[in-house]
C-alpha cells in the first residue's frame, strides 16, 4: 500500500492504494467519479483522458501511487455552476452520440486549446484531427467533434 494525497477537482483526495491501482480505478472505484470512462486495455482509446497538473494523460496508464501531490481534473470538475464552454460546444454541435468517448474528447479538446493558445499557434481543423490521434470515437465520424472543439476554442 502507498498512501497518496492528490487534489481532484479542487478537493483533497487521499487514500492508501495498492501499487497496481490505476488512476482510472482510483477515480472510478475509490472516489466514485465515473465520468472518466475506460474503453480499452491497450492505452489506445483515450476515453479515460484526465488532466494531471494541467496536462492530458490517459488515466488508465498512470499508477495512482505515483501521483502524490498532483492536481487532477476530471470531466466532473469542469462545470462550475454553468457548463464549461467545451461542454456547451459538444452539446450545440451534436459532438456526441452514445457519449462513451465524450469525457476523453472533452479533456483532450481543452488540453489542445490550452497548449495552442500558450504557444500562440492556430488550431486549424487539420491540427484538431492530428491532436485527436489518441481519442477514438466509434459513433460520430469525428466531424462534429472537430466542430465542437473549434467552436469551444473561439469562446475559451
Amino acid at each position: 500500500m502507498t498512501s497518496v494525497t492528490m487534489t481532484v477537482n479542487g478537493k483533497a483526495a487521499s487514500g492508501d492504494v495498492p501499487g497496481e491501482t490505476l488512476l482510472s480505478d482510483f477515480l472510478r472505484e475509490h472516489l466514485r467519479l465515473t465520468g472518466t470512462h475506460v474503453g480499452c486495455d491497450t492505452s489506445q482509446c483515450g476515453a479515460c483522458v484526465v488532466h494531471v497538473d494541467g496536462k492530458a494523460v490517459k488515466s488508465c496508464t498512470v499508477l495512482a501511487a505515483s501521483l502524490d501531490g498532483a492536481e487532477v481534473t476530471t470531466v466532473e470538475g469542469l462545470a462550475n455552476g454553468e457548463l464549461h464552454p467545451m461542454q456547451v460546444a459538444f452539446n450545440e454541435n451534436h459532438g456526441l452520440q452514445c457519449g462513451f468517448c465524450t469525457p476523453g474528447m472533452i479533456m483532450s479538446g481543452i488540453d489542445m486549446i490550452n497548449r495552442y493558445k500558450a504557444e500562440g499557434k492556430e488550431l486549424t481543423d487539420d491540427a484538431i484531427r492530428h491532436e485527436l490521434e489518441g481519442n477514438i470515437c466509434r459513433c460520430t465520424g469525428y466531424h462534429n467533434i472537430v466542430r465542437s472543439i473549434k467552436d469551444a476554442a473561439a469562446s475559451m
Binding site: 502507498t2 495498492p18 492505452s43 496536462k55 492530458a56 496508464t61 499508477l63 483532450s108
Partner: protein
C-alpha cells in the same frame, strides 16, 4: 494487473538499493509501455521502481554543441525544448511525432530506448546521430546500445540517466506511420556528420533498428534525394507482418530516406 509494490526513490543510490532488494524489479518511467504490458500480464514484476523522483532526471541542458537530455524527459518536453531545438531540431520533431498528445505527456526518452521496440522512433534518431547513452555505471555509444529487437546493452537493473546528442551538420526524420498504432511502419533518420552520412532505419528490421551501409555510402558521396535512387535496398532481414511485407518495407525505406534527405536540405 497483478499486485505490485510501488517505490519512488529520490536518488540513484536508493533506486539501486530498491532494485536489489526486490524479487523482480522493473524500472518505471512514463509507464506508457510497461503499464499496458503489465495489464496484459506480459510482465509481472514484484516491484516497480519509479525513477521520476530522482533529481536531475528530467533536466535538459546544452553545453557547447551537445545537448544532454535527462532520461525521464517526456516526449512533449523534448518536442518543446529550446535546448533540443537549438542542437538538433530534427530530434525535437521526432519526439513531436510519437504516439498521441497524452502519450507524449507521459512517455520518456529513457523508457523508449530501454524498451527498444523495433518500431519505436527514438532508436533511429539516436543511432543516426551517434548519441551517447549515459547510465548510472557508464557511457554507451548508440552503436553498441541497440543490440536487437527489444534488447539493449543494459545490464539487469542498470538505469539510464541521460542521453547526449551532438549537433549534426544536417538531419531529418521521415516516418511512415502505422495509421492505427502511430508507431513507425518504416522510419528513416538521416544525419550528415563530420564522419559522413549516417542513416538509421526503424520499423523494418527483424533485429530492430539498424544502419544502412548502402544508403550511408551513397549519401556520403552525394547528399541529395537523387542519390537514394541508385541504392539497392534488400528485403532480406526485414519484417513481414499483417501491416506490410518485407518487400513493401524495403521500398518504403527508400521513399522515407528520400523524404528525410529532402527535408534535411
Amino acid at each position: 494487473m497483478y499486485a505490485v509494490n510501488y517505490h519512488k526513490p529520490a536518488s540513484i543510490e536508493d533506486a539501486v538499493a530498491a532494485i536489489g532488494g526486490a524479487d523482480e524489479a522493473k524500472i518505471l518511467a512514463g509507464g506508457q509501455t510497461l503499464l499496458p504490458t503489465m495489464k496484459q500480464h506480459l510482465a509481472a514484476p514484484s516491484d516497480v521502481i519509479d525513477i521520476r523522483g530522482i533529481g536531475g532526471m528530467t533536466d535538459i541542458a546544452v553545453r557547447g554543441d551537445t545537448v544532454t537530455i535527462g532520461a525521464a524527459a517526456t516526449h512533449a518536453a523534448v518536442a518543446g525544448s529550446n535546448e533540443v531545438g537549438s542542437v538538433c531540431p530534427a530530434l525535437a520533431a521526432l519526439a513531436a511525432g510519437i504516439g498521441d498528445p497524452a502519450v507524449r505527456h507521459m512517455g520518456t526518452i529513457g523508457g523508449s530506448i530501454a524498451n527498444n521496440d523495433p518500431a519505436a522512433d527514438y532508436p533511429a534518431g539516436l543511432l543516426a546521430l551517434g548519441a551517447t547513452i549515459v547510465t548510472n555505471n557508464r557511457e554507451i555509444a548508440a552503436d553498441e546500445f541497440f543490440t536487437g529487437m527489444f534488447t539493449t546493452a543494459l545490464e539487469d537493473g542498470e538505469i539510464i540517466t541521460a542521453i547526449n546528442v551532438s549537433a549534426p551538420g544536417k538531419a531529418a526524420y521521415a516516418k511512415f506511420r502505422n495509421p492505427a498504432s502511430r508507431y513507425a511502419m518504416v522510419g528513416v533518420f538521416v544525419a550528415k556528420t563530420g564522419d559522413g552520412a549516417r542513416v538509421a532505419v526503424t520499423g523494418a528490421g527483424e533485429d530492430g533498428v539498424f544502419r544502412h551501409d548502402g544508403l550511408e555510402q551513397a549519401l556520403g558521396t552525394n547528399w541529395s534525394p537523387d542519390a537514394v535512387d541508385a541504392v539497392a535496398v534488400s528485403a532480406d532481414g526485414l519484417m513481414s507482418d499483417i501491416h506490410a511485407s518485407a518487400d513493401y518495407r524495403a521500398h518504403l525505406i527508400k521513399v522515407m530516406a528520400k523524404r528525410a534527405v529532402a527535408a534535411a536540405g
